[in-house]
Symmetry: D2
Subunit: 309 residues, 4 copies
Amino acid sequence: MSEEAEKLQRPRSEALNEILGVPFKVLDDGFIRVVDYMGSDESIVQAARVSYGKGTKKVSEDRGLIRYLMRHHHTTPFEMCEIKFHVRVPMDCWRQWIRHRTANVNEYSTRYSIAIDTAQKTPANEWRLQASGNKQGSEGFINEEMGRKFTQREEELYQTSWKVYQERLEAGIAREQARKDLLLSTYTESYWKIDLHNLIHFLALRMDDHAQYEIRSYANTIGYEVLSKWCPFVWEAFLDYRFQSMAFSRLELDLMKVISGGKKKEAVELAIKYGWLSGEGNLKRNREREEFENKLQFLDIEAPWKELV
Amino acid sequence: MSEEAEKLQRPRSEALNEILGVPFKVLDDGFIRVVDYMGSDESIVQAARVSYGKGTKKVSEDRGLIRYLMRHHHTTPFEMCEIKFHVRVPMDCWRQWIRHRTANVNEYSTRYSIAIDTAQKTPANEWRLQASGNKQGSEGFINEEMGRKFTQREEELYQTSWKVYQERLEAGIAREQARKDLLLSTYTESYWKIDLHNLIHFLALRMDDHAQYEIRSYANTIGYEVLSKWCPFVWEAFLDYRFQSMAFSRLELDLMKVISGGKKKEAVELAIKYGWLSGEGNLKRNREREEFENKLQFLDIEAPWKELV
Amino acid sequence: MSEEAEKLQRPRSEALNEILGVPFKVLDDGFIRVVDYMGSDESIVQAARVSYGKGTKKVSEDRGLIRYLMRHHHTTPFEMCEIKFHVRVPMDCWRQWIRHRTANVNEYSTRYSIAIDTAQKTPANEWRLQASGNKQGSEGFINEEMGRKFTQREEELYQTSWKVYQERLEAGIAREQARKDLLLSTYTESYWKIDLHNLIHFLALRMDDHAQYEIRSYANTIGYEVLSKWCPFVWEAFLDYRFQSMAFSRLELDLMKVISGGKKKEAVELAIKYGWLSGEGNLKRNREREEFENKLQFLDIEAPWKELV
Amino acid sequence: MSEEAEKLQRPRSEALNEILGVPFKVLDDGFIRVVDYMGSDESIVQAARVSYGKGTKKVSEDRGLIRYLMRHHHTTPFEMCEIKFHVRVPMDCWRQWIRHRTANVNEYSTRYSIAIDTAQKTPANEWRLQASGNKQGSEGFINEEMGRKFTQREEELYQTSWKVYQERLEAGIAREQARKDLLLSTYTESYWKIDLHNLIHFLALRMDDHAQYEIRSYANTIGYEVLSKWCPFVWEAFLDYRFQSMAFSRLELDLMKVISGGKKKEAVELAIKYGWLSGEGNLKRNREREEFENKLQFLDIEAPWKELV
């Protein structure tokens, strides 16, 4: 088969080919790099058009079709693309990563081989404080002086744990058991292969503000450095229709209707009915009301109960 | 990135490239053809070696490693290869095919488009008879004269059903409803994408003698025409360690031990204990004993109870 | 273990117990019935609270927690519930159903047994017309007189195909082959087992207006007759946060902002920039603009370009 | 619905009910306990019989049918049973466990809550030595005197790492970050829900001699303490047809034929052809030959090349 013919059958992404095998650094000593891939924007269109059958004329431009598929959750054509990464990730972060079950994984085995002698170390100015409003989040940083202490303590702990590991190996203890007291911050490596539909799902969850900083760093690198090059139409549609979209619940929609009709009093009554405001219209904390207020603020609309405060 | 460098990152199979896009005919009007793929024998080795880490020397030749992985059910490296087919299959057969859940599918939509005007027709000499011993099998053929009658009847039925379909469409009935009385023998088309581990599982089940002739024809074509070219080491290992292997149960192993020690009487007693022979040593039908007898026969070993007959 | 203690360990839903095994009719001769289940609203809460650990006090009421989980796509606790149905469905509809891969299935085998002698027949007043705007939808009905003709034609076709099937069986043709020309409208039966997270996904897609009438009928029965009883909090949250929610894309949100600020001219300019309006502000058909107009209409907001018409 | 009727619809396992909620200790501070379940031996039979249709008489006894299904890899009826565990497992072991992707999981969150203050500690007499022949195994133990030293070192390391963790929390560092240097031996807890087919696969891999001691301990507890009570017929069939079965490859079968015919010379020639013996019949190490020799030994058959040594 000629080089020409092969291209037709096996669409490539020139921009992705440029970075094949090139590692993108993440965190202090982690990376992701693309090892192989299959498909492109084109393949999605090709798969979607199977549905239309031979006789059908080109319904719309490729970009338009991809945007339509993304907007309406027609997910199967995106499954026709596949990508394989080589990643280096702290085990602590890998614990979250591996929860995405619809992927293929070959991980570096510390049962077979000696562990990788590197761990994610936190610099003095990156120790994050517990978020006040969110039990599973962080906000702001500890002051650098204290940070220095914790950074040093971490380094010492790492040295101790690695020494213990080495002593065990030297005494002939089995690798599978010697590893048991490695720190969660130790790096591991994996081949990670996933289809584009599930990659998008991974990015939607892990690029999100609520994702932990570490895995978010990996997701952002995959999104902005890889997907944007591999399937530019998909990337754009992902940002427009998923990542930067906003969902309104039935309750919120009903309230929006009343608000856009200018009926403030009815809006307050509805919010009371929802339990978002107390009977007297008091603004005690209510999570769902606050989420709605954030959405209104984003739209430059004033909450009808603001003056109640 | 140079063509050279790309090859390193993205292993190809020259033999598979030769047949990219080329349809292989199956049944009277079906086909399979490879649309795209990712990986090769090499990628499996590459993935398996992630486990051994950087410092490890080449443990064994590629072929040997692949055979080892197959023999010991180390399945994850095989998941690192992926292949995409375009297939045309009778709906009746597709009903079995689609039960393999770990694949990605885009099927031709008869909701969106007019159905494909072709069905699998059975020639006069291919009407199979119900198997006597196996409720879900067939054996032998009906005589050709009767076969001709059934072939003609099938053609008439197809014409009638297609006419009904056409009349509905012409009267403006929705495609999604008009299709409801198409025959199961009508062909459908799909893009079908699957990783190599799951493809092997598909082949092991569907190339098997007990699989229905129709889907077996597709599986054989995929195995002998595609996999054998794509990943020749995997194909060879699959035949040696899975497809042409044989499992012996705990019961069978215990019997084999006694038989290979030449202790016929003990063997008969054991078989009676298993319930494979009646107390008096009578040879009434017993499915599990018969399965074991077939295995013995394959090994040119005489069943110790043969003389009892 | 006492009956009392067992209840604690194995939460039941009294309302669901009432209908265990009871078939709910769907279409002319189909049904769904619950055969078994595991879990309840309570189990979801129990699973979610594993995260909080022993020392944590009851964060919120069960209902509130379930609503929070649904709103924020915390899907894993819903996977802790499981339900098993026995269903009878036309094969044509089953072809769509089976595409939901994350379920367990045992289907009636027409390879092993004789097919079920019943097919979904369409009454004279239920032949649907092809939708004009939607290639894969229907709207309105054909007139009843013509409908009668099609209903009769369908009955004849069914009789013919069933007769052909019978003749084949009588001549000894294998069941696996004899079935090949059954009509797609023939009923099949299955055991179908799925976890609650995936059931919700099934319902979201199949209760939707765009789902085909037939499968929508099954989905509605499962939703309104079963899920509403089994896990009433989940059902309510599903309706509020998924089924009756509405998503706005980044483009729509940006437009909403401008519109809610009363800046009509800017809104029109933005829509032109999006390609939703032609440069001259002409209202030629644009799918995405029309989708947005529908959302605005739902919210009782006038599209800023309405006066352009 | 009466208690009686409910039992019919929702088969229970009395023996399993006895241990619902009861923790079985594993390792020094781990456990597994059954929280809920669905189905029993009976449900498998019920599902398998869907295939046979209404008119079919009871083909065989339940036990026989289950054994048949297991023997012939008819896996879907086993998927009709589901079980939910609450487990406490060292994170190091959980890393292996979680690789089984077809399960539902809710894990204790150290992002949300403070980590569980207990880790798996190795007693002085349980430090295992690296296996000589198997890069990923262990054999024998280190002498107890040295063991005491390693046990003490481990305890000190744990205390240090826990103190560092506590200091971070006290300084207000976010839980999601404070946890990064916990030891892999720290216990975690999860709800783990899986269907019976996939549980069997888990047991087959993890009860195996080659599985690491720690996860094997969990698998054995689940097998011998839970599955044996829940579905006794399945457990028996699993042991007979999977766990204690043995597979022979095409190469091994061909050799067995020659050996059982008493043709030693041909056997040696075949082994040379396979590359299992060097051309001169030398017995240098060959992994596949050694595996075959182990099988022959199990069957009390002498390897035909033994006298060559």
